[in-house]
């Protein structure tokens, strides 16, 4: 049953992504990107990644869509038809995709418990986490306890990005519609 849901959701994702490449109305593209994020959040629940799913739903589908609509309000919502060639990018994309598909042929099958990725440190974390940290959720334990400093570093990245946005947009001292 879970495999069937997985199959359908991935089909939806592919349709939404292809629609996004075709549409010229950027407002519609921003809406579709919200739908794309929500669909991927549902897919993460099916694939047992519940923590990732609610982060994607809140941050990916929520905040990113709000930021995009805010930007579109300032920059206009219609994409102009450019005179550039579309054949060359299409060929590059098809060639890259074919190379990547060739690369997947050696990968272990989906859901295979014997895949190399499940053999090294993952069993150790699953076995020791409740004893060493007392937290039943292994993802939370790794994020906040074993790799706490990495998470601190991540907040530095977000702080820097926020600082960059404030510097670029000149918080509160900008004339609306003025040129730089």
């Amino acid at each position: 049953m879970a495999e069937f849901v997985d199959f359908i959701l991935l089909g939806f994702l592919a349709v939404v992504a292809l629609a996004m490449t075709r549409l010229r109305n950027l407002f519609a593209v921003a809406m579709l990107s919200g739908i794309y994020s929500l669909l991927s959040a549902v897919l993460f629940v099916v694939l047992d990644a519940v923590d990732v799913a609610f982060t994607e739903a809140a941050v990916g589908a929520g905040i990113t869509t709000v930021l995009m609509i805010g930007t579109l309000a300032l920059t206009g919502t219609e994409e102009k038809i450019s005179g550039r060639h579309t054949m060359i990018p299409l060929l590059i994309v098809l060639f890259t995709g074919a190379a990547l598909i060739y690369g997947t042929l050696d990968m272990p099958a989906f859901e295979d418990p014997q895949a190399p990725v499940h053999q090294h440190v993952a069993p150790k974390y699953l076995r020791d986490t409740p004893i060493e940290t007392g937290v039943p959720n292994v993802v939370t334990a790794v994020l906040a306890s074993y790799r706490g400093y990495d998470t601190l570093g991540e907040t530095t990245v977000i702080f820097t990005a926020g600082l960059g946005v404030i510097i670029l947009l000149g918080l509160g001292q900008r004339k609306p519609g003025g040129t730089a």
Partner: protein, 117 residues
């Protein structure tokens, strides 16, 4: 149980290439950033697909379950989602500034304005 084989990875590649196409074939800067987001989410799906174990459950330890999916890709992707939003916000802020400076966010027109001045 293994009926799907590599299906997940192939759809991931389709999504990845859709995002890649949006970045290289479109001249609109906001559309490029949306393309980057699509590409990024496809990488998330690739990692989470690799972490799934057949018959497993979410990696929250409780009695009555012995088989869990791999928690380590989940941790990596949690970090990646948040950093992805930070970079998208920075890119969109740059697009707004370019709109103010050039009056357009179409790449061709920006290049033309630069060569004229």
């Amino acid at each position: 149980m293994w009926a799907f084989g590599l299906y997940n990875y192939w759809i991931v590649i389709v999504l990845m290439m859709a995002g890649f196409y949006m970045v290289i074939a479109h001249g609109n800067l906001v559309k490029k950033i949306i393309g980057l987001n699509v590409f990024q989410t496809s990488v998330f799906i690739l990692y989470i697909s690799m972490g799934k174990v057949g018959g497993g459950t979410a990696p929250i330890i409780s009695e009555g379950f012995t088989r869990y999916s791999n928690p380590l890709p989940h941790v990596l992707i949690l970090t990646a989602i948040v950093v992805g939003v930070a970079t998208a916000a920075l890119g969109l802020a740059l697009a707004v500034r370019i709109k103010e400076a050039y009056g357009t966010i179409e790449e061709d027109e920006i290049v033309k304005a630069d060569t004229l001045s």
